[in-house]
Symmetry: C2
Subunit: 344 residues, 2 copies
DNA sequence: TTTTCAAGTGGAAACGTTTGCACAAACATA
DNA sequence: TATGTTTGTGCAAACGTTTCCACTTGAAAA
């Protein structure tokens, strides 16, 4: 008699074995598609399993086999268009291979990121995909996970020193192409809104900007390079600063759509966009297509990035402990040209 | 000798017990805060556990105890501002109680929703929170989960027939207050963009609209009620239809910010907003504050909704099988008044 | 003194799988 | 005939916890 009578006693492989007068090991093998089981028994087992409403107990399975069907994902936030699209991409891919996704938010705080990684390690996930927080910290937690044998996939905000799978966007190229586009539209004096250059993505965009400018034989003013964080207010303030220069720029490349929007809102009543000044952002946030003038931007392929993370994971599972070289994927950004830079 | 020598052998409670010359049962109790363990042993155990880098094996723990520390969440998509904010809310709450969140996307497809629920059941989550897909289907999968003893929390798109915990927004009130606001601004002929009224949220908004109109002694034209789905294009088309009426409305209440935007874009060059026509949307999508004129809307408290889902879950765990009445939470929407309806 | 009780601990059996090993039967090879 | 090989199955031991039960103590109650 089942003591916890209020809960349905789940059917186990023992029940199936008993029904078929066979051994649980046979049932297990049949259900797992082991090829040493005859087609006949396999079908029988499947039939009885279905009839009894059998569901595999993943706890027992994972405990015994040491394998899990869950992949952990650590992001700064889930409610940001960029990261939520990535999550969608990962989920779309791994689901169809029978894996589930566990989410953990770091809130862009180092300490919480460490907690997330620990929680996922404890939860026994099959791998951890992580975009590191922008707060400065060390990477002990990631190294520790790696040493424990946990497969890792870093995406977007990557720590290049670590020898893991990684998926990034080619930020260098994104910035380079954005500048090239501006130049092709006749802009010459391009300003840059950039984030903390200790972080790989901003470092690369800065490099792309510089090299593109040099390539087009354009010099730039140090006053044109502004450290601006990703907010509408910061963009407004930065645009104000630019307008006050004795020789103001005729275009802005912003590392964030939000600060680009801020700049646009500040400039709107003062100069003509795109005739007198062009603005291009970064990320292709959903709103960029709806504001007016619509905002040109560099699309970061977030859903695609998620899909690549998912595929990297699948690949990595297949490899099964075989020590092989970690794959680094570099995604190609896409320039989205809209009204804010289209002067014909 | 450990056979899988390439993987660190994890330390278990047995290792701790051996070290302290005590029994694994004691260690287990000490780690779980059982009060029949002396303070002294508890501390000893904690010390050794830390020194050996012990991590609880959740598979073994869950297998034995039948309890899980994972909560499953089913949403149509993760990359929509509304649902990703909900996820954030849930995560924020349950994390600090030591729970993790597993995500599954139904893509708003009935069949996939069923798959999601099955996957989460198999994964042995402690509870399932779900916003049902808008595709018509039956609720067998939800009833089945319920019968198996799985605690359920429905949110936003709720199936009212089911006797479960639920968290919804007061859509009736949202629509009612939106209409009242329009009337207070002097608008009289209010049109309504609405989704499929078989779904609770739209049914309620429709009701709110009707009652508010009646309350203000305003009659409305059947031509003013348009079934419009949540897209910019549908909004444009609907606005066009309205303008072609012999007696066009002077305000639009849209069930979606996207169709409100579409309408706004279509109307912008033809009539003055908000002087000649007022527009108000639903959801408070991030872009609504950035477009011009900025779009008034009804905020749906998505993050709050997630937090309430999380808290309901915690509460529900505490109850521990005690049969009690499921709590239904109704959140209060917030009217966000912006330029698109502010005529002074 | 004996009995009762509480506090703290240990022993051992679960939980439901997977898997190494053994084995039987049937069949092919020498 | 003897020897190997293949195919399918069963036995039993894990995996790392939790938890029921029993057992020591030492102290309080009778």
């Amino acid at each position: 008699m089942c003591k916890r009578f209020h809960l349905k006693r789940k059917t186990t492989i023992l029940d199936i074995a008993r029904e078929l007068k066979t051994a649980p090991s046979t049932v297990s093998r049949a259900l797992n598609g082991n090829r040493r089981i005859s087609e006949e028994t396999r079908k029988e087992v499947a039939r009885v399993a279905k009839r009894l409403g059998y569901m595999r107990n993943h706890f027992a399975s994972s405990l015994r086999s040491g394998k899990s069907n869950v992949i952990g994902v650590v992001v700064p936030f889930t409610d940001s268009s960029f990261f939520s699209s990535i999550i969608r991409g990962v989920e779309d891919i791994v689901n169809r291979e029978g894996y589930n996704v566990m989410i953990c938010q770091s809130h862009d705080i180092y300490e919480r990121e460490v907690k997330c990684v620990e929680a996922l390690l404890e939860a026994g996930v099959a791998a951890i995909a992580i975009s590191v927080s922008s707060e400065v910290g060390n990477y002990k937690h990631i190294e520790k996970a790696s040493e424990l044998g946990m497969p890792l996939i870093l995406f977007d905000r990557v720590v290049e020193e670590l020898d893991t799978y990684s998926v990034m966007i080619d930020d260098y190229r994104g910035a380079y192409e954005a500048v090239t586009h501006l130049v092709s539209m006749g802009y010459r004096k391009v300003a840059l809104f950039i984030g903390n250059r200790e972080i790989n993505i901003f470092r690369e965009r800065y490099r792309g900007y510089k090299e593109a400018m040099a390539h087009h034989n354009l010099s730039w003013n140090e006053d044109y390079i502004l450290e601006v964080d990703s907010s509408v207010e910061a963009g407004e303030a930065a645009a104000k600063k630019l307008l006050e220069l004795s020789d103001p720029p005729d275009a802005i490349l912003s590392s964030s759509d939000f600060s680009a929007l801020g700049a646009m809102q500040f400039l709107q009543n003062r100069v003509n966009i795109p005739e007198e000044i062009g603005i291009i952002g970064f990320s292709n946030e959903p709103f960029t297509g709806y504001v007016s003038p619509s905002l040109s931007t560099v699309d970061q392929q977030s859903q695609k990035m998620g899909e690549v993370v998912g595929r990297s994971f699948i690949e990595l599972q297949g490899e099964n402990l075989k020590q092989s070289y970690p794959v680094k994927t570099l995604l190609r950004p896409e320039l989205i040209i809209r009204e804010s830079t289209r002067r014909i």
